[in-house]
Symmetry: C2
Subunit: 351 residues, 2 copies
């Protein structure tokens, strides 16, 4: 198996990317193609004692920066590590692509170069988030600020396949974020999406899930539009950050509480690890015809290695092929249902 990596994308590139890649070669037996400036890669490997066994280098002279406008960057920087890597993936020169570079550009590039699965209007970004019971997959966690009901239905199918094939969940429960349990809740488009999900025989639809219940992790797959998903993803981080900060103040407030901290430190470490998104790999571009994984921009070697592992699992377990099948089946069923009412976008009322 050959995983193509963007050696130049991310805050800590190329060093952490190469360290992560080398670890992946050792631990998972994958072959790696590292895309980027050959000289810079080889020098970095030499300086840091990184074994390039199992890693070939594919040259790319440009890099897409965080501030670049995504679609423009993909179209213009044809020799960037990201575009070269995606092209190689599309041409079958590797089985998956992993990058810690700019999310918007990766999404645009994956859509334009690697292309979408049939039945997917727009790919979604899927993020695995730690939950109380177990981690859950949230999608769309930010790609599409507006979504038609059919898009949410496609997200449901792909998310379900991912959690089953890659995360090993049996018959994963799919839930639709909404402001109440009843099928009449939400905007007209959410009401319609609810109907599509309920009729979809390719998923186990568990109904609406209210925001308060999302962090419990009882649903395996949590579906929503990208605006809402971005709120869920980022607010979860923000609330956790606020609470941990407040907690730290409490612990540091007196000698008594400092002692308490020493006694509970190890336990807290396990707690933090559970909440650490890095443990779960990167975010997935779901709906693209081959596996594309976005590692956190600030990924260190461990996080990047986890993202490569995630890519490997996607390939090994035929996640994309399975999505292709189930999307085709869901698409047919949807055609039938659509004849019964007009399509509406999320959160819009028909005039």
């Amino acid at each position: 198996m050959k995983i193509i990596i963007d050696a130049m994308g991310g805050d800590n590139a190329p060093k952490e990317m190469l360290l992560g890649a080398a670890a992946a070669v050792r631990e998972y037996g994958v072959q790696i193609v590292a895309v980027g400036r050959r000289e810079q890669i080889e020098e970095c490997a030499k300086e840091n004692g990184i074994e390039l066994a199992g890693i070939t280098v594919a040259n790319a002279s440009e890099t897409i920066e965080m501030c670049d406008e995504p679609t423009a960057a993909i179209r213009r920087k044809k020799d960037s590590s990201m575009v070269v890597g995606l092209r190689m993936l599309a041409a079958g020169e590797g089985d998956a692509f992993v990058s810690a570079g700019a999310t918007g550009a990766l999404l645009a590039g994956a859509t334009l170069i690697v292309k979408r699965l049939k039945g997917v209007k727009r790919p979604a970004i899927g993020t695995v988030i730690p939950g109380a019971q177990q981690p859950y997959l949230l999608l769309d966690s930010g790609a599409n600020v507006e979504c038609r009901p059919e898009m949410l239905n496609a997200f449901a199918v792909m998310g379900s396949v991912y959690m089953e094939k890659v995360m090993g969940r049996k018959n994963p429960a799919v839930a639709l974020v909404n402001n109440g349990a009843e099928e009449t809740k939400g905007t007209p488009a959410y009401v319609q999406a609810h109907g599509l999900l309920r009729a979809n025989r390719n998923i186990r639809f568990a109904g609406n899930i209210e925001p308060r219940d999302v962090p419990a992790g009882n649903a395996d797959v949590v579906v929503c539009d990208g605006f809402t998903g971005n709120v869920i993803l980022k607010l979860t981080e923000g609330v956790a950050k606020m609470l941990m900060g407040e907690l730290k103040s409490v612990f540091m407030s007196s000698p008594k509480t400092k002692l308490a901290y020493l006694l509970v430190k190890d336990g807290l470490r396990g707690f933090k690890k559970k909440l650490d998104a890095d443990e779960h790999g990167g975010a997935l571009m779901l709906g693209v015809s081959k596996p594309v994984i976005k590692a956190h921009g600030s990924s260190n070697a461990k996080a990047f290695c986890n993202a490569i592992r995630q890519a490997k699992l996607c390939v090994e377990r035929g996640a994309v092929e399975s999505m292709r099948e189930k999307l085709a089946a869901a698409d047919d069923a949807e055609q039938a249902q659509e004849q019964s009412g007009p399509a509406v976008r999320c959160k819009e009322k028909k005039e």
Copy 2:
């Protein structure tokens, strides 16, 4: 000053409502009109030794239940404590109305009976949420799943007035929830709302606020549509609940960690108090022509008394009058801007 209360609404009615009302009479010197079944109120007061000094009873034979369809309940249960109370408020027989009953019904009733301020298409529910720095006002926290840009602009004005007049913030900062800082971010309607807020001379617009930054409490007023607001409100609760649960497990895991808990207990109490939404009173029906406050359904006497205090502050500080003024000014400015582009609803693309 006379505050009308719904003695029958809420899980712990009428006892906690009456205890809270009696406390408010003692602590704040307000007069209370308690609306509900006279016999039940008088018997409850007698059984629990509640002083009815300063409290008059207005009879209402029916109660709106949590499961009743809101608008139907308001129209049909004309002798319910909620409808009778709202009618009294509309007729000037009191200065504000406080209820712990069903939110949907209270919103429908306030809109239909007490009526809206000019310039408000739909009232919003505003909720004060604890933030790291300080509490912030979130609106719309759930009334309207779809919002036009003008509605968001009105929310901004009302929220700003509330935080200034009632919470004493100087020149409150108003921020618009969005998935990035740039003015081009979000759906077309959010882009348009951003423009309206920026041009609005009645508020201090601090730009977009990303979900990750909302819990810090740096913005005094956080504006968004009701679907998103419901997610922010309820997810904050859900993440806090999950983290506190995990933390408790850590503390209870061994004798060592249990000792740590004993040492840090008092500090944690302050922490929990800060996060306690009950401390901040109830939720406000903003955009209604007189103060209407929704106390938590599970309110105890203290929470209900706080909600009455909140109502008193709204009245004393002329919050509604101030909103009326500023909405009129903002409305004129908006007419001018609307001529430059078509109105779009939140999260819809114009075909």
